[in-house]
Symmetry: C2
Subunit: 534 residues, 2 copies
Amino acid sequence: MEVFTPLSTVTWQEKAAIPRRVRDESVAKVEPALQGLPDELPLNSQGLPKIVLTTRERELTEKYTVKELLALLHSRKLQSEELTRAFLRRAAVAHAATNCLTELLWDDAIARARYLDSLPHPVGPLHGLPISVKEHHGTLGSNQQTNASYVSYIGQPSGSTLLLDILWDAGVVHFARTTQPQTIMHLETESNIYGRTVNPYNRNLTPGGSSGGEGALIGMRGSLFGLGGDIGGSIRCPAAHCGIYGFKPSVQRFPNVGGKEHMDGTEAILATKGPMAADRDTLELCMKVVLAAEPWRLDPSLRVAPWVPYKITRPLKVAVMWWDGVVRPHPPMMRALREVAHACKAAGMKVVDWEALNHQKGWEIVSGLYFPDGGQSIYNILEESGEPPLPLTDFIIKEQPNLCAERDAFRTAYARHWSATADQDGDEVDVILCPPNFGAATPHGQSRYWGYTAIWNLLDYPGVVFPVTTVDPEKDKKDVNYAPVTTEDKFVQELYEPDIYKDAPISLQLVSRRHFDEKLLAALVEIERALGRS
Amino acid sequence: MEVFTPLSTVTWQEKAAIPRRVRDESVAKVEPALQGLPDELPLNSQGLPKIVLTTRERELTEKYTVKELLALLHSRKLQSEELTRAFLRRAAVAHAATNCLTELLWDDAIARARYLDSLPHPVGPLHGLPISVKEHHGTLGSNQQTNASYVSYIGQPSGSTLLLDILWDAGVVHFARTTQPQTIMHLETESNIYGRTVNPYNRNLTPGGSSGGEGALIGMRGSLFGLGGDIGGSIRCPAAHCGIYGFKPSVQRFPNVGGKEHMDGTEAILATKGPMAADRDTLELCMKVVLAAEPWRLDPSLRVAPWVPYKITRPLKVAVMWWDGVVRPHPPMMRALREVAHACKAAGMKVVDWEALNHQKGWEIVSGLYFPDGGQSIYNILEESGEPPLPLTDFIIKEQPNLCAERDAFRTAYARHWSATADQDGDEVDVILCPPNFGAATPHGQSRYWGYTAIWNLLDYPGVVFPVTTVDPEKDKKDVNYAPVTTEDKFVQELYEPDIYKDAPISLQLVSRRHFDEKLLAALVEIERALGRS
């Protein structure tokens, strides 16, 4: 990568152009070059791969789950190089459609794949699998830099990320790096460096954020497995908006050291990294591989907690949270809840209602706690280069009072609220089924209500997002008689016009008590079975 | 308890006299009254119980371990009331000797014991056992107030403490509440309310702190099992100074909610409660009983981590930390290390040296992090009543820079340092054997070096303290040729004159990696066996 020498005469715009050039040059390496893309891109990008890719490339990127690909790679029925080349080209298509990449690792990925193919035995459980990763995590196997979407950080080297060290040892091929928004604290994906990433189902809508590059890329099957991070919804929101699977574990479980972040050392609300994937089983596979490496031996922030798969021995008790008392979900989200609740009942599960316990207060606490210094450290980084804060940056940064004691009281009240669900029938609620957002992906610049994901960050309840349906203007008509109950609700209701969201994915979120990560993924299997999925 | 109505005309001294009167009236209830105590108390209080107590009272309080008492209680060979009365009287003796109580719960304890005796079956594993507790934790079964050693807090009701709820359900009898220092942040025990608590082996020395009331009481066998808290040594320091056992678990394991603390919601360095006991087995018994109640269901700060006893399957690899590179331990402490290291080797364990990794830096970080607000919240509480800060309060409170990132880097470096101990022979160090302090209990007002305990709070490594020997001026001569290496070291070396510490307990500390609490207690069993103990 080009080395940047800071000069006081360089404007932030000139500086920001450097990583864009790196990105463009990296994508231009694609061989054979992409041909056939229309000059004017369609609203929905899902048809583009068919125009550009070969039948074999489409077979390799569409036909298999990650587990199936790994079986082919391990048995040497498939070479990593062929697979990697197919995903490199499909990722380039996804980028042309959605602006989801910060770098395509063409040379490094092919060299790594060839090396793995040359070995007599697989190096680990993920031998030869191409994976994508959010830019600020950094990647191994190359002389990478990470800017974390700050112009000030451009040109700084990337440290080694423990998570990626582990995956590397397990045999992955890094082939694509993906976009995140300024501050990595928007539920959309726009920065002064890379511009805006759009939704692969509808370019007028956001892919979500902050792991929106991963969302868009995996939503195009330009990658089947990637890594994001989540402190307020940054894995679950883009997973939901792009119709893929995303898992936010309880914090302090998945390695965090390495990579580039602003505000290292703050901890009022902790972030966690986690997997995003085209299929469900890859989420648990990722947890197993990473925790088998005992990451707590090198990252002392982690709990010593091996991954112990959970066995469900009685019908689940599923609580449905129809809304959070602040912002009513849009009609397609309500329909998804009804459909899944119905399927759970039909499969013999207990289905009850979940009473949201003062989520308005929860949102006030968590949004106040994101920036213990009132955002000053972020504004300092922005000022260093002169790049302007984006509107969604100013939106999320506020002054904060000392809210940690309120946070702890809220957590305690919620724990008791959950325990009390066993009072009547002796069975405690196992999981909460709830929206991951008030609706489908929003039009750009409108993602101002984080409550449906951030509440679970406040409580540190693990959450997993899974696709359910898509917006159908016929089925999901606007309720013109609904009277909004809060200012946020009014804003959100006004965002809904069915035609704007046509075909956008609608996903749901499943949440369990803190530290019951394994149980949560086991419950998702049961619920997807109830939906008739394998 | 008397209700206090705040009046602006009341001085802090008048206000502070109220809980002292409560305490004195509570101790005066002892029946029969204590007789035979000398007008001038001896330097060493260990002989006093023999003067005052009956043979039967001494048998009940001296002859048995907690496990043996529980067996007698469960089989009804012993009534809780008789046992409780014996400990009530012995606690009164301990208080007369050391000033360790804030309240003796005469009526409540006897009523509770009678109630338990009246039941057809034991209510739980601790049925009928009298236990003591640090004042600020509060107790159940009575209309308690807690002042946490702040004059401003006098008259405030105590909330329910989850830890004590659990022990109550397991059958304990609360019979004594014990002293802590102003701010609960001294390694001694002195407050403007209750004055100074002294060491039961030498009244010129401190019992340690902040759980110094527990240390002195259990050091007199005025209780066999009590509860303390530890953020910088507050369990381990008084346990060491008073010749008893004390266990600081990894944080977020043992319930914390309830009780009275200043600075709720701060979390740069977390405190934990933990057991203090006259015998080793009671530490693990306490952990088992408390974690069997699944406290994480009600205290969401806790890890979901049941107590799973650890089985040691190969000879331990014990690292001995002879000193921390900042302050050299006094001669009796060095002798204790030599004696125990020798016994471990003789028992077939691997014994290696531990290189202290920049503990000076560690102390700078942890002492800076104790007061994220620079101590302002504490000074505000003091100013509210007008009570003056004690010298050790001003000592520990300093301005602090943003040290959380340095803390995390230090933790990561130390984790890698520990993992590297397997590099040469493939065996990682299991436990570190180290001093819990630079020496025996200090003369009053001199406990200004916390490094030997606080470093493990910074790292969140669990630590357990066990008695080894006592100061012997013949064996533990001053090394007059030693040249101190730091200012702190000079201060500490000047504190040592063998005769000052004659007969004072010398204890050692065993430390394991974070979250290996069960392994740590299992290793202590092995090491005590190597010392010829059961």
